[in-house]
Symmetry: C2
Amino acid sequence: MTQYWVEILPFGKKQRAAESENLHHLIRGCGIPLASPCGGRGKCGKCHITLIKGSFQESKPSATEKAYIQPEDLARGVRLACQATLNGSVKIHVPPESLARDISLGTTGPETTIRPFPAIKKYYSAMTGPSFHDLKPDTERLVTSLQKQGLRPRHVSPSILALLPDTLRESGWGVTATIQDKHNIIDVETGDCRDDCYGLAIDLGTTKIGGSLVDLITGKRVTVFGDANPQIPYGEDVLSRIHYAAKGDEERKFLQKTVINSINQLILEACRKSNIDTRHIYEATLVGNSAMHHLFLGISTVHLAESPYVPAVKGPLDIRARDLGLNINSEGNIHTLPLITGFVGSDCLAGVLATGMYKEKKMCLLLDIGTNTEVVLGNRDRMVACSCASGPAFEGAHIKHGMKAAKGAIECVGIDKQSNKIYTQTIRDAAPAGLCGSGIIDCVAEMCRSNIIDDQGMFTQESDFASVRRSAEGMWELVIAQNEKSGQDIVVTQQDVNEIQLSKAAVLTGISILMQELHVTPDQIEKVYIAGAFGSTLNPINAKRIGMIPDIPVERIKSTGNTAMTGAQMALISTRSRRKSQRVSKQLEYLELATHPDFQSFFVNSLRFPKK
Amino acid sequence: MTQYWVEILPFGKKQRAAESENLHHLIRGCGIPLASPCGGRGKCGKCHITLIKGSFQESKPSATEKAYIQPEDLARGVRLACQATLNGSVKIHVPPESLARDISLGTTGPETTIRPFPAIKKYYSAMTGPSFHDLKPDTERLVTSLQKQGLRPRHVSPSILALLPDTLRESGWGVTATIQDKHNIIDVETGDCRDDCYGLAIDLGTTKIGGSLVDLITGKRVTVFGDANPQIPYGEDVLSRIHYAAKGDEERKFLQKTVINSINQLILEACRKSNIDTRHIYEATLVGNSAMHHLFLGISTVHLAESPYVPAVKGPLDIRARDLGLNINSEGNIHTLPLITGFVGSDCLAGVLATGMYKEKKMCLLLDIGTNTEVVLGNRDRMVACSCASGPAFEGAHIKHGMKAAKGAIECVGIDKQSNKIYTQTIRDAAPAGLCGSGIIDCVAEMCRSNIIDDQGMFTQESDFASVRRSAEGMWELVIAQNEKSGQDIVVTQQDVNEIQLSKAAVLTGISILMQELHVTPDQIEKVYIAGAFGSTLNPINAKRIGMIPDIPVERIKSTGNTAMTGAQMALISTRSRRKSQRVSKQLEYLELATHPDFQSFFVNSLRFPKK
């Protein structure tokens, strides 16, 4: 596992003057992806580092550090990077647990089977050169020649005019024209290269960037790619990132640049791998939550984090690649799918498009689980969406031994009460290091099933299970494994159970309020889609067992993987799907939970774990 | 007058490796605007310099130098910069006559009186901010508010989204929106600034850039500006400039950049003078000949100089300011008026628009005189244009003592045969240095009138005028003044008369062929417009006296100044005029003289000077 031993010099690796001496920022300035869910504000206690040599200005641990670091760790020099300021050069160790990058990437979503109707088409055209009897200018000559093929091009992009005269003559008056939206000629190439016609579908998540390089003729993927969102060091969750961007124009533009650079790098690698020229990528579609959408476009996000949380823009946008600096054909188009509201992004809309629930007769429920969980309930007659503040517990945060879904994370837990044994399975079968999101849910589900906790989420007093114990502080906890390296027990505490309980209650509250709005009972819901990277690892039975979703027959629940990516691909290869996405976005109603009069009572009712 | 003494070091001031050691290019590399009608190809003999210290690789004058430099000048170290290669460091003197920049700018054309219908309008809009009961995104809120004023905006430019949320909130939800073409919101500003709405009309000539900063609300000029075209050092005439641009992509882009930088500088100065923010310039219209149009847009021009001389594009173009790097509002639009052919540019079309001949019942003739003279004959029923290779003699080139219309140039000549006197008038009443275009025409007209030359353009043997003499080489010449500085006589030679004769014949041939095409006799032509910077200095009587135009009553001939600029301004302030310019461009027929079967016979007939 990646870890770093690094020497930091004062004024050495400055990123920004104002923050130059804060260790947290200096470490990131060195390119080390230090974990930072709170954005370096001392709110999450995740950026543990060990001081090896030198000293900090704060020679004594702060109250924050005492709250997040065990006394024995404090004694051996463990500190929080965000609390320390340099006092001269230091040598520190950054342990793997404090790194943000080692995350497994979610699936890229199922391949779509829809028929391609791309906005981009390429045509070969042979023509006769000019003479004194035919003085048509070059553009007119090309347009006329394409018209003979039944096409109706009306406009030649000014930027391709520069070399058009040379291209036409060098080719001996036989060229391939790339036509966008039936009317705009956006590229002209020598000879016949109609087959080289590609597009990109991009799913820009807070944590991950996923992409597919797609053949626009067949509509199929050529290759998929993905990486961590490079904005993570500037705020791991949406709010910290908005907080960072709000510092000023420079910071906002920097976040935009950093994500576009990263996508450009991924494009280059994908093209190299597939032997494709970036010039032949003519279009990209992008989906993401509203904040990622805004940051990608360089739009101010501060008001997304202020009541009443309205986005700057909601509708679809078409932007030229060169205006954004995206490394595809410079005249290429970047289409961002519409947002629904500040809290329900185009990724959710893409999920609605990919699952096809907008055209279903049957009542459908779509969940895209994350720190904010988007819920859509409905069918072709009416669809309502809401956003639930489910918090980061599902992703392993705020959980005592929670961690990202990385190597060594426990993802499956089995409790055998009779033999008094607990079985665990870790990612890549590595030695257990903690619990990832699906692991903690699996464990809580097992704890419900085994009566270790009751329907209120409390450790049952009568539990005689050997692994249940009281911690030194007197809190109940369940020991599920041992961290071989540290020798520490990996436990699930009463507090952890309550975190999951609050998260699942938030989701269930959203679903319940939507069901009330649509006058739907659980048995009327015939299809449940659990989407998102996390959704693909979540066991639907567990989702039901912990009461995150209502009592719906398990066979109706389907884990659909990253439907956002699939939806983005559909909008890429088919203008029909693109138009559909716009219709759906207008059709999809948004229900604001924060101001709903029944929110409190639904929430209290949703806290309960279902009885077996 | 500007002159330079400069020390040139080998490898010192390289501009381009391949040309590094040629003195001509080295001098220009120093930023000295050395005259170069032929582009440094040894064809014009204008780049005289004097060697003060050091030596050239060519220690002896070349045949070219001997042809262009007087023996006594050769003896004192005068050389042609284009013929010399460095041999080590040299010190040279560049005399004022060898500089290209000191040119007086033509008029900017008459102010237009048409009613403004600009493509750009600004609207103030006050709205209510969002709440949980009104979650409209910012763009939708703005659009809805504008709709309440009866507007139909459909599109918000993605680039203005970045700061839209902040602008709306900072303004307390009262902003001014700039709307382009009724539907596109291209700028949003805090508060009410509807009055700040400007545009630019640009006339991009081979020699000069002229511009008007125009108030789009009143349609009137705020200020006018002008400067030499900074591309002059890279070829003074169109062909040499195309030749330079054809060297490669880099050179073509360099020419584009240099003219755009120069326009940007003029914009800055005009804005500073008028206290206007460049952000408030929302549109620019541009006219120019086809080569200048292409070079401004960065389009390859090499094929404009190759038979059959077709342009890359003919129709009007709309390009965003930021795509070209023009320093107006970055979302502003640059509209280039349509070209007619490779030889008849949008400046000629703008003249047709400005004179209004396209809607006249009367038969009209428009001449835009220059190295190429564009001729348009017709009325609202039919208009035909042609381009005549009139050569540079009208501008004082290829004339023994010809010079640009700069200080000291003789612009008026009066011959009083009885008193045996010649009267001259110079620009700014300076000591005479040579003859500018209108001066040489005036002189030739006077020579006709005074019978110094006959209708074949030959010095009449019987002429007993004292100032007529034979040169040392035995050629007839007329002494019209003395260059006080050099002590040399300023003369008009038999050769000079023949140059003017060829030039005027070229124009008359064009007119005659158009008249034949339209079945028009001279007396049917009811209006003659002489346009262009040169046209405004040309005495219409002289144009008729030397037989450049047919025998049309003088009162029908009007010198209209720079109608290209007026036409550009009309297209700027009125979308109706813009649409008209497109209709006219389609309506205006082009007649190719080069392949016309009667060209030769018409030309021979046109050489004759009219009898009094």
